[in-house]
């Protein structure tokens, strides 16, 4: 809708046009016109003609006049009306044979529900707003099936929040044919983090919205244990941490393998093959590397409750989610399989913090959150689907 351009969105450039793919996710990233009153650049730059250049309004940059006859103007207008009707129906543009949905305007179209993203896009630091945001996206996607995620006001991204958004899209795609669109942040640092994170590799794009960076280990995902990816994380952290040259964080590698194995074998149950995601962001000025690992399975507390051992039945069935997470981290349970020789995974992660390899370990699952630095266990203001492990390599 040409007139639905909020004043706050005017003038900030975004590159490329991102399309909805099989998951139904579209991230809109290009704007070719500012308002209904201005001549529109209907075609690409290759369609330039020798028509005189005019200015849309005083002081504005000159804009090219693309049509010079009344008949051509009439035909263009009719075509625009047809395309607008097609977009409202949810049909693809006739120009997009590869199912690219070409959206030329950044604001939501009629029928789309805008969901505003929090300024601090971090699950660890901004739990309340982020969980409410995700819940809104999920609820609206179920209710109206066309959601517009407004990231324009986001000023900072964290790895955990980016991963959870991707996992949310995956869940929506698995449950049905939903349409989720959005834009990118105005703030340059936030936009840079999003484009460098590899986020746009996981939502289809027709533009050039991805850019690699040596400070970002892009989003990786998988359904099996991937030792090579675990090694890549360790190497990335070693490259950016201020550690002695002979420092070998083998404990971290071990932890990552266990996380992937936990996801594969326990997070989703026997009937569903689930997925994990991970990424890392280097903070050069702090000499730290922010890392997050996530799956959107059942969550540690739910997994424990499904088959509690007799010894811990009361604690498991009556305890709150954060209590169960803390107990699991401290190794107070036998593992879900109940066999004696297994189950060193979660306590092993804690020992890495104790040894100083990692810091600020935080585990979020279902309705519980445990910050291992000071063993602060809290109940979340909303439900988190799955398990998130976040820490800093130091």
């Amino acid at each position: 809708m040409l007139t639905d351009n909020p004043a706050a969105e005017r003038g900030w450039p975004i590159r490329g046009i991102v399309e909805a793919f099989h998951s139904g996710v579209t991230f809109f990233a290009d704007r070719l016109a500012l308002s209904r009153s201005e001549p529109r650049a209907v075609e690409s730059a290759s369609n330039e003609s020798s028509a005189p250049i005019i200015s849309a309004r005083p002081g504005a940059p000159p804009m090219k006049k693309l049509y010079s006859t009344a008949e051509y103007a009439r035909r263009v207008k009719k075509r625009q009306e047809r395309e607008l009707k097609a977009r409202r129906r949810g049909a693809h543009s006739p120009k997009s044979a590869d199912h690219t949905i070409v959206r030329k305007y950044s604001p939501p179209l009629s029928g789309q529900r805008r969901v505003q993203a929090p300024v601090e896009f971090s699950l660890i630091k901004n739990q309340s707003e982020m969980l409410a945001f995700y819940d809104e996206v999920y609820e609206q996607a179920h209710r109206r099936r066309r959601v517009w995620i407004d990231l324009s006001r986001v000023e900072s991204f964290s790895a955990d929040a980016i991963l959870y958004m991707l996992s949310l899209f995956e869940s929506l795609g698995a449950e049905g044919n939903y349409s989720v669109s959005g834009n990118v942040p105005k703030a340059e640092p936030a936009r840079r983090v999003l484009t460098q994170s590899g986020f746009f590799k996981h939502v289809s794009t027709a533009g050039t919205s991805h850019a690699s960076s040596p400070d970002v280990l892009e989003v990786k995902s998988g359904t099996l244990v991937e030792p090579v990816i675990a090694k890549a994380v360790v190497d990335f952290a070693a490259l950016h941490r201020q550690r002695p040259a002979d420092s070998r964080p083998q404990g971290v590698y071990r932890t990552l393998i266990e996380c992937m194995a936990n996801t594969k074998n326990h997070a989703y149950g026997e009937k569903r093959a689930g997925k994990w995601w991970l990424m890392a962001l280097a903070e050069r000025d702090k000499g730290r590397v922010q890392f997050a690992f996530l799956d959107n399975g059942k969550g540690i507390p739910s997994t424990l409750r499904k088959n509690p051992s007799e010894r811990f039945r009361d604690l498991v069935l009556l305890g709150r989610d954060e209590q169960l997470i803390e107990s699991a981290l401290l190794g107070e349970f036998r593992t879900r399989t109940g066999q004696r020789y297994r189950g060193k995974g979660l306590p092993g992660i804690v020992s890495e913090q104790t040894s100083g390899e990692i810091a600020d370990l935080c585990v979020v699952a279902n309705r519980g959150c445990v910050r291992c630095r000071d063993w602060q266990s809290t109940q979340l203001p909303g439900k988190f689907n799955g398990t998130l492990l976040s820490w800093d390599f130091v």
Binding site: L224, V225, K231, R254, I257, E258, M260, Y341, K344
Partner: protein
């Protein structure tokens, strides 16, 4: 005497427990590298295993590889024949020995 350098003869990136978990699992290592050397019940030759040079070892890998071997052939025989070397992680050998010893406890 047999010598196995895990990083060279198997993988520099050991994986998790089972072959179904993903590549370079403890189960795959045991089947490929250890079980053939234990198949002959009369063979008492020492097997020297070098642990250095890998990215690390998940607990599930070690337990399935060596604890699983002990469950198949007995902890005592494994203790006699397996000799471990690790200069990079001083706790690794004792951890593996625990898995071998614990394998006899149900």
């Amino acid at each position: 005497m047999h010598k196995i350098v895990i990083a060279r003869d198997f993988s520099a990136t050991p994986g998790a427990r089972y072959e179904t978990d993903g590549p370079f699992s403890g189960q795959a290592f045991r089947r490929a590298q250890l079980e053939p050397l234990f198949a002959d019940a009369s063979d008492e030759s020492v097997i020297d295993i070098m642990l250095d040079g890998t990215a690390g070892y998940a607990t599930s890998f070690l337990e399935e590889a060596f604890g699983g071997l002990a469950r198949m052939y007995g902890s005592e025989r494994c203790r006699r024949r397996l000799h471990f070397t690790s200069t990079e992680d001083s706790l690794l050998v004792s951890e593996i020995e625990d898995y071998i010893n614990d394998a006899s406890i149900k």
